[in-house]
């Protein structure tokens, strides 16, 4: 009976192989003859569409009038489990206004090497200033370059706020 079982096993194996090979060959031929779309993404020439709730690179957003949403409250730093956010706040004046209200972030730094992309900062933010967006290509060459400053994180403004001058202007692309 040992021989019969061996024969049976061989037949089963051959069947499984041909089943798999048939699927592979069907898609291969389909793509070769262009009857079905290409599955391989030709990175970096092309990029796959990210899922809507993907959490990657942080961005500090602005209001429509160009003012920063961030008020420098440091709640993101408090919520951060990796302790990778550093915020220093200062007071807005009428001559030099960055955000609505009294307070804005004069320094906002994220240590990307420490960040675990949990999105708690986005959760904690009372003004929706910090959001994690879909830019996932964050590799760099030196450790220092992973320290993202406020200028790097702040999104470009379509409108230059009337009251924003000085350093603020440079951040506006």
């Amino acid at each position: 009976m040992g021989f019969l079982r061996t024969l049976q096993n061989t037949a089963d194996g051959a069947k499984a192989l041909t089943t798999g090979a048939r699927i592979t060959m069907r898609h291969y031929m389909g793509q070769l003859l262009k009857t079905e779309p290409l599955q391989t993404v030709q990175y970096p020439e092309e990029r796959r569409e990210q899922f809507p709730r993907t959490r990657w690179r942080h961005v500090l957003t602005r209001y429509e009038n160009g003012l920063e949403k961030c008020i420098g409250c440091s709640l993101c730093a408090g919520a951060c489990p990796a302790r990778c956010i550093y915020v220093e706040a200062a007071e807005n004046t009428d001559e030099d206004r960055y955000s609505p209200g009294e307070r804005y972030a004069v320094k906002y730094e994220i240590n990307m090497l420490r960040c675990i992309f949990c999105g708690f900062c986005q959760d904690a933010c009372p003004t929706g200033a910090i959001v994690l967006r879909k830019d996932f290509e964050l590799a760099d060459f030196t450790r220092k370059d992973f320290l993202y400053t406020k200028e790097m994180l702040l999104e470009g403004a379509s409108v230059i706020p009337l009251t924003a001058v000085g350093t603020h202007k440079e951040a506006v692309k």
Partner: protein, 739 residues
Amino acid sequence: MPDNRLTQTEASLNPAVTQMVNIKIDGIELQVPKGENIIESAKRAGVDIPYFCYHPRLSKGDAANCRMCLVDVFAPRRAPDGTVSLAKMPKPQASCTLPADEGMVIVTDSEAVVRDRKGVLEFLLINHPLDCPICDRGGECPLQNNAIFYGAATSRYTEEKRHFPKAYPLAENVVFDRERCIHCARCTRFTEDISGDAQLGFLKRGADMEVGTFEHTAYKSKFSGNVIELCPVGALLSRSYRFKARPWDLHSQRSVCSKCSNGCNIKIDYRLDSLQRINGRINEAVNEEWTCDKGKFGHSYVSSEARLKTPMLKTGGEWKAIDWTEALQILVGKLRDANGSVAGIGGQRCTNEDNFAFQKLFREVLKSNDIDSRVEGYLGSVNKPLYERFGYHAMGNAIAELEDMKTILVLGSQLVDEQPIIYLRVRKAYRFKGATVINAVSSVPEDSPKVGDFAQLELVYKPGTEAALLKGILSVLSAEKLASVNGFAKGYTLEKAAEETGVSAEAIQQAARLMATGKLAIIAGREVANHANHLEVVQAIGDLAEATGNAQNINLPGEDVNSQGAADMGVLPDFAPGYAPLENPGKNTAQILQAAADGSLKVLWVAGAKLLEKFPNRELAQAAFASDTFIVVNELTMTETAQAADLVLPAASFAEKEGTFTNCERRVQRIHKAFDISLEIKPDWLIFSEVATRMGGGGGSFFSARDILKAISAQVPAYAGLTAKSLGDEGVRWNYPDK
């Protein structure tokens, strides 16, 4: 994270316990003193009652206005037939003013109470802007906490909130956000009960009510910083800390204030290497929980840009930054060349460890007794004024003991500037314990608060006539047979004293009568310490104290943070550590400066003493600094004294080193290192120790501050047995062996 400062109770302000009563709180049976506030009893039982306006150190006068501590109360009621039954009070009661009585049953978690708290919070939040994300109090805010634990999740109020301009400049150091105020009256009660200036009060009524000074003048106080910590919301804020950090950004380190000799316990809140704010730390024996504005706002120098970060050498009138190797090489070379012609001044702002290493270096390595820590007027033997007669040097009383005095004489002192925490005790003795305060000064400042505001009697004498005034008082005591004067004021009459001092004879008589009524404490200040005839004045003070039977109640507190410790550590020309007399005493500060001015001194080492700024004989100090003497200064910044030196060594501030300070009442307290500004900045003891090592060691080489503390406890009798551990959080007050 800062601890919750609202949970202290101070037993001494409650009425004396006469009777215990049985009460029940949430089913927990307990015995409490009759008349105790239920909110305090609940704390004993571990039952949480939320509150805003209640504070154990403030009087209950305007309190019970936040209505947060409401509880249901059932009290026993006797029916006409004699049966006793529990009857519920028809409305909930404020537990912060409800005295405990026999058989009371308190319910803190009934449905009605829970609903009431929600309602109270909803009302409080109607006009509160809820701008927690940008509020400095956010994260350590009692209103936030109570709203989360006891409040409703939503509000039904949809109308426009009350609006005021933000950051109203209330005081020099305090800004006021009127929108956030919940009218708890803690700040107003503080100014009335504790600091004594009574400047803050409520203006207007109802929803328009706001805290302010009358006529909207500036709030000028020496203790304004405390209202920031007292405020249960973010209405009163520190101007310097505004927007600097959130509580969770900060690290906190226990320390002792370095601004005066009172030794307030503080917390240094810092971020990276910069000091952000100073908060009071509770020590019932010293500062209770208060701080003065000098201590709370005066420490910005620690993290300032002006801090020295390398040794500086003056060559040809120009300052040049050099490294430590070079600096020590130059210094050691100069010390070797001087061949014993060296002297040291200073140490009052340094720790005990620094001072111990300082005198070790001079006595055992450089073989010179010419060191002195004192920069005040009197530079004779420290044993002369008080020790030889009464057996103690500076303060006979502990700070807390001042509360128990019947009469307190403040002599020649702007107490609130010189000894702010002693001032608060004197004020407390007056306000809560019924003490009578007599203020004798030569000039009365305009500003407030000051002792004169609440003194029963103010004697304004001509400058320098303290002894005459005291002798006048003694002559009255003698003439009216109020005390046995032992002929102390022989040849003095009331008329003569009145004429010399310019104080009316009646006032002197009144003062004498007040002093004869009971326990009297005498606190003498700067005018006495710098008096030309210091010994004569202290003699007169001693006579008065002895005549009235208060020989142990004389207080001559030093002024700098470690004046006491520097003397204890033997940074004196005639005493080794622990006041052991030396066979061949060295020169005192004035003599050292004279020697430098004469050109007979080769090297002068100044350890943080502000000679040009503070020494009474400024001409002598200037002459000494202008001479050829090589002058080394340990300093934090380029002060006037440092500018005039030849070599300046960057020393660590109190926030950057370990060690102990001894405050004016001889309490040895630990300071802890919070952060490093720069690795090139060294604590003073390390500088002395490194020089000692390069000079050949001897007893002057140490490895750590703790190492030095061990040596101190082994070699200084008064400090025997003190270890870093035994000092704990509150410090230890050392006593004279024979007392």
